[in-house]
Amino acid sequence: MESLKKLDKNLVSRMYEGMLKIRHFEETQSRVFRAGEQEGFTHVYLGEEAIAVGACLNLNPDDFITSTHRGHGHMIAKGGDFKKMMGELYGRTTGSCLGRSGSLHIADRSIGMLGANGIVGDGNPIAVGAGYSILLRGTKQVVVSFFGDGATNQGTFHESLNMAASFNLPVIFVIENNGLSCGTITASVCKVLENLGDRSVAYGIPGENIDGMDVVEVYQTVEKAVDRARAGQGPTLVNCKTFRHHGHFEGDIDIRDEADINEALSHDAIKEFEERMLKECLITQQKIDEEHKRIQQLVDEAVEFARNSPLPKPEDAMKFVYAE
């Protein structure tokens, strides 16, 4: 593992802050959801924070990301506003989508977050299109598409990688390989699960298999991919091995062995990053405690904000069917 001292100090603190933001947001989200404060269902990103944060730290505000059903982390990493997000999760008019789509479709066009998606695998072709639009408009933007190991077995994965490769598009495909496809262990339905990045060979593009629990490794791998993309050298596939803390959705059963879960939980991305920072004297325990407190307070404020925000009018369901 590389010394954090080699990295820009500011970058290290942004890595830490980004992961903490997702952690606190999602732990709170899990709690308020399970307490029955929100309707519907919700998938949280706990455990996978290093991927969204490491990847998005390479992006500019006008770059794009596409997301999945597990999209809160992506949105936070891309600069999402806690209040607009909680507003959305509570189905309130202050939400980024005016409270009309909730957890599953959280989106914020103003920060290039093109939407969480309820259809597994559909983010990839949309990312390809954002890439095509970049080509046509002649800008230097890039697109990062996040998706799970489960989504790699959709036809859209193949179609998208082939198109992005053939059209030489500035798209970085990031697999969040937690080994789970809802209630199915992906390894039982996918022979190459461990090194999904090798699938890149089939499309003639670079592929990487990395430790998705190491925010630095994610950052540096995606940095190379983004540089290539901006230089007009086309797409990259990055397979990030990771571990998800919770079951598929909040309140769902967990099909993994408890012993395996406990073993994995002992290698938490954030805890290990804190230990690294402490060991290298980049932070003090007191500062760590303060950071946790500061960010939790931001989340608490967002929850209060959402709770006190108005519900949409029923008839507003009829709005936004067609653009004028």
Binding site: S96, L98, H105, P125, S133, E159, M163, V321
Partner: protein, 324 residues
């Protein structure tokens, strides 16, 4: 006035709009040098180059998804799905993404794109190249559904479709594409939701769509000789639907026959019948008749296909029945 074919009228519309908007592109397999499976794109590739007239892999989901991604990031596009029978492959993208994003994201992103396809039988193309799925499409809020029957309508509606800020499914017919009709040299648009009375009459109304408009007109000619005066109404767009013109015609003639080459069961004719029954029941002097494909897949040989698809005899019989 000059006469040109449907396919040429469509190409003219596309070319005129592509000249005005450098971020408008056409994407599908075979649209490039080859000139399109139905020769719609023709020389557009020579006119606008590879980036804007883009040959794609045979990946319907990928292509439609790509155009959606481009739409929400500042471009417009026309996708060609050469046979409507292939549309089920990308129905997910059309229904779950294109039709939904504007509503889901609270108006943050709209999806301006045209999905151009050719439906219909009468060309001995057998079970997998003869279908009409307009009722599937018209069932989904967020989509607009266009079905022209003449080159004049095709051109004017295509220009409106391209400039519409929403996903438009533009349904051509394989029998119509080589058919000629009058088209002025100057530019024009035809607004959506305006039916066209293709022939005036007093004894019965036929509402027909796409190629069957021509069958209805021929049937009306034949019936005229027997003293029955038939009005032929072509809705031109199913969504939005010009209910007023249909209702007005039925109130005048007091009899209604609906014709399409889609299957009768679950076809859009049922919707029109229901509207008329609901809003003009008191004016009807006979039960509403629907004429369409019999309840079997469309077979290859002419002896079978002509039996299954609606023909002149079927239409004339239906009119004679309602006229009594």
């Amino acid at each position: 006035m000059r006469e040109i074919m449907h396919r040429d009228a469509l190409r003219e519309a596309i070319a005129e709009e592509m000249r005005k908007d450098e971020h408008l592109f056409l994407m599908a397999y075979d649209v490039g040098k080859y000139g399109g499976e139905h020769r719609i794109s023709g020389n557009l590739y020579e006119m606008f180059g590879d980036l804007r007239v883009k040959d794609a892999p045979i990946s319907e989901q990928g292509i439609v998804g790509c155009c959606i991604g481009a739409a929400i990031t500042g471009c417009r596009s026309i996708v060609e799905i050469p046979f409507m029978d292939f549309m089920p492959l990308c129905m997910d993208m059309i229904v779950n993404q294109a039709a939904k994003l504007y509503h889901m994201f609270g108006g943050q992103m709209n999806v301006p794109m045209v999905i151009l396809t050719a439906a219909g039988g009468y060309i001995r193309a057998a079970q997998q190249h003869s279908q009409c799925f307009e009722a599937w499409v018209a069932h989904v809020p967020g989509l607009k559904t266009v079905m022209p029957s003449t080159p004049y309508d095709a051109k004017g509606l295509m220009k409106t479709a391209i400039n519409d800020p929403n996903p438009v499914v533009f349904i051509e017919h394989k029998k119509l594409l080589p058919m000629k009709g009058e088209v002025p040299e100057e530019e024009y648009e035809i607004p959506f939701g305006q039916a066209d009375i293709k022939r005036e009459g007093t004894d019965a109304t036929i509402v027909a769509t796409s190629y069957t408009v021509h069958l209805a007109l021929q049937a009306a000619d034949n019936l005229q000789k027997k003293g029955i005066s038939v009005e032929v109404v072509d809705p031109r767009t199913l969504v939005p639907l010009d209910k007023a013109t249909i209702l007005e015609s039925v109130k005048k003639t007091t009899k209604l026959v609906i014709v399409h080459d889609a299957h009768v069961t679950g076809g859009f004719g049922g919707e029109i019948a229901a509207i008329v029954a609901d809003e003009a029941f008191g004016y009807l002097d006979a039960p509403i008749k629907r004429v369409g494909a019999k309840w079997t897949p469309i077979p290859f040989p002419s002896v079978m296909e002509d039996y299954v698809l609606p023909g002149l005899d079927d239409i004339e019989a239906a009119v004679r029945e309602v006229v009594g």
